[in-house]
Symmetry: C2
């Protein structure tokens, strides 16, 4: 069995593609920029979705479903929104095919042209706010706390599996509120939920911040973001939550009668995370042997491998272990294949990122022990069969914690405070990472720095300390450092 | 508070639309034929989906996700499939909009025409079998048991919410097998799962059968179906499972190396149920006061209403009840609104189909009782507070069983054995229902009967007894009765 994936040090980008492919997460499809999410990748997404969905419902949100297609004219109603989203999108112009008169398969029926073209949703603010007009009339209808799990499409020019695909899966929350304060609080609450999910479930540390005007969602008053650092020290925007002000309410004329019988425009938020998170998960934890998954999200948490192969004695021990592990809510599988050698199986499960492997061998059983291997550090140890279940339960927690701490240390080791442009360039070139620097607050400076270095302002950290300083580029006064980085 | 919905006896079709709207299940959207599934309707779908998903996984299936868009040329590869699906579908021809040179919003950018048009999936056999070519090479890769939860689109001319919409949500299973026998067994297994789900969860009795050649899925060798009878005695096709033979494997060149090192084409099945089931649920159980839901699928199973309004004493009793009900896994809500009168609330919860209502009044509490009302029969009784939780738990089971039995009796009362065309027409006209009649097995006869009566052959029942007879139309010999009915 040869080495199956490229080392990170050799070619990080190729390593990523190898992991996606060899771990069975996704594959390219016949449609440009669209991927097939394979069963192992989808099981991971299901676990992420189920946990997020629970967190949304625990905070009072309900799910609904809105149409895939959006009338073209809707996109033009919010001036900034159309600039951001209308440009690269899939346009439905006809509703029928017909047999080719020349006998070559099927062709578009020219008589079935739509009166108005329809766009496959790149995001659903427009169709949803057009609907909310009918749902909201009084302050009693507010707040309206709705989420949707859906596929969306953006005709990206350069795509990478999970990170940037033409079609992707996501959730988009769309809420309506009576006051600006409530809407801001909602967008902040959802940012907190995203951060909690990223850190506690994905074991991926994130920085909560607000985007600059340049990087804001098209149509938002404020865009909040969680930013994570990947192993190659580039930033990944992992989730965003937008305070939309009254922009969409005004564009779609959504008003409510307040307690004083006055008509008011409604205040809005929207927030979303997508299958992009899977890309972030891969680039936060995985190594040169394959995928590494945080136990809380791993589709299978434990695999039991009989050594050298299954048999009545080993099976009996395995089945008892499985029953006890399942009793503790641990997801476990037993590999009963008789044709593959243990070494081959070990490599395969390492590739797929199963956090814990239990090897059961006859000789070990005579000593009353099994071999427990953890995927993150690849350490192995002999564990008394009697205490194996408790050991594994604790180990899963330990792996989850270890992955988070390792990623946090990596981020800390690659975060730098920088005060002049020469150092800025030097640090960015030699080390990359997150550069904390003062900025004068203008788009002009931001764009010039981007032009010079390819680094963008990832966010203005929400918990950043106030500190008098001078803009790293213009020398103008600044009150807080912002984070610059190259980003996915 | 006036009567909100049309009586069934007055206008069944209008009654249906009223229920969908007033119970908060769905609403029309700005896009022709596409509906918005509202939170109450979506919560119902989530419960259906979760249970089906569990049944699929318990039988070894895994989920995956395939692209929304299908290259036009794929549809032509399976000759019958293209006839069935290529005609009315949404066609993506461009990938960009641009600002209208005349300043009127946005228009399609003519320079962004796709080389090959893409179709929004009406069903995914083609894109999936094109993918399976890469996934399958040896008998060890089989069986491949994959399911997808997705949105699909068919450009229907006449749409009705849930029953027939341009876009709908569904699951589509697509499996690959080494032998014909295994594929047939899979398609029958999934039919059994659909029937079990319909009867045990939806409380909707169904007849399992096989479709005639005329009514088969485009590209299938055999289509199995579950057929249910609605309250108006029309039939609803509630789910189908197809044995696809080697048609798609041949069209997309999917082969495997068998144990004897010979290349063989793969055998296939596909099977699906959709949000149409919600339409079936409504038309099986609901009444002139609103939605009636089987407890197993109801988003909320019990509502507690304080009479006349909340207060410390009632709240305390309610909270204790809620904790105990939740402890038994029962989904319960407590209405603490202080502005609406109990009578208004009762009507509202009846409209929304909550199976059990518990009224807690001060005077009742003095007697140590609460009032329990069931939605299906509208019976009310005083129940000792002490035993209320057990009473409600049993009542939910009783309601579930009662709904099924009532629907079964309705079907039995409207099923008729008919042996001549005059009686056939008379029964169909006067009573409707399921007509069990002999048929000579030809498409010609089937189509003539349809022309004469609008009734189609819903299925050849799988458990129908063999019985020598003569075709009700042609007089030719027949071995088994088939079911004719008018259908949704």
């Amino acid at each position: 069995m040869g080495k199956e994936i490229t080392d990170r040090s050799e070619d990080y980008s190729q390593w990523y593609n190898d992991i996606v492919k060899k771990a069975g997460l996704a594959s390219n499809s016949a449609v440009r920029g669209c991927m097939v999410i394979k069963p192992h990748g989808f099981a991971l997404w299901e676990n992420m979705r189920d946990q997020l969905d629970k967190m949304f419902k625990d905070t009072g949100h309900v799910n609904a479903y809105f149409p895939l297609l959006i009338p073209k004219s809707f996109l033009s109603k919010e001036a900034e929104h159309v600039e951001g989203f209308a440009k690269e999108c899939a346009v439905v112009t006809h509703h029928r095919l017909m047999n080719d008169p020349d006998g070559n398969g099927v062709v578009v029926d020219p008589s079935a042209k739509l009166e108005e073209e329809l766009i496959i949703r790149p995001t659903s603010e427009t169709i949803i706010w057009n609907t909310y007009r009918d749902w909201i009339s009084s302050y009693r209808d507010l707040p309206l706390l709705v989420n949707q799990w859906a596929n969306v499409m953006r005709w990206e020019m350069r795509t990478r599996m999970f990170l940037r695909t033409a079609e992707f899966l996501w959730q988009e929350g769309h809420t309506a509120h009576a006051t600006s304060e409530e809407a801001v609080a909602e967008s902040r609450q959802m940012l907190d939920i995203y951060a909690q999910f990223a850190e506690e479930w994905m074991a991926m540390p994130v920085i909560k911040g607000v985007k600059t005007a340049n990087e804001r969602f098209a149509g938002a008053e404020d865009t909040y973001t969680i930013e994570a650092m990947m192993q190659d020290t580039k930033a990944l925007q992992a989730g965003t939550s937008h305070f939309l002000g009254q922009n969409f309410a005004k564009a779609f004329d959504v008003t409510y009668l307040d307690a004083n019988q006055k008509q008011q425009h409604v205040w809005a938020t929207s927030w979303g995370v997508s299958t992009r998170l899977i890309g972030g998960l891969i680039m936060t934890h995985s190594d040169d042997d394959g995928l590494v998954l945080p136990p809380k999200l791993a589709p299978q948490q434990v695999v039991i491998v009989p050594i050298p192969k299954p048999g009545p004695e080993i099976d009996e021990v395995a089945e008892k272990l499985i029953a006890e592990l399942k009793g503790k809510g641990i997801r476990v599988i037993y590999d009963q294949d008789t044709k593959k050698r243990p070494g081959f199986k070990f490599a395969e499960y390492e590739m797929r990122g199963i956090p814990v492997r239990i090897g059961i061998g006859k000789r070990d059983l005579e000593k009353g022990v099994v071999e427990v291997a953890r995927r993150d550090t690849k350490e192995k140890e002999s564990v008394a069969l009697d205490g194996a279940v408790d050991f594994v339960e604790n180990l899963l927690t330990e792996i989850q914690d270890n992955l988070f701490l390792k990623a946090l240390k990596h981020r800390e080791a690659n975060s730098f405070e920088v005060d002049d442009m020469d150092t800025f360039k030097k640090v960015l070139e030699e080390k990359g990472g997150f550069i904390y620097a003062h900025w004068d607050g203008t788009s002009e400076t931001e764009l010039k720095i981007k032009e010079l270095t390819k680094a963008t302002i990832r966010c203005i950290p929400l918990d950043g300390k106030e500190e008098a300083g001078k803009c790293v580029f213009s020398g103008k006064p600044s009150k807080q450092r912002v984070i610059f980085a190259k980003a996915y």
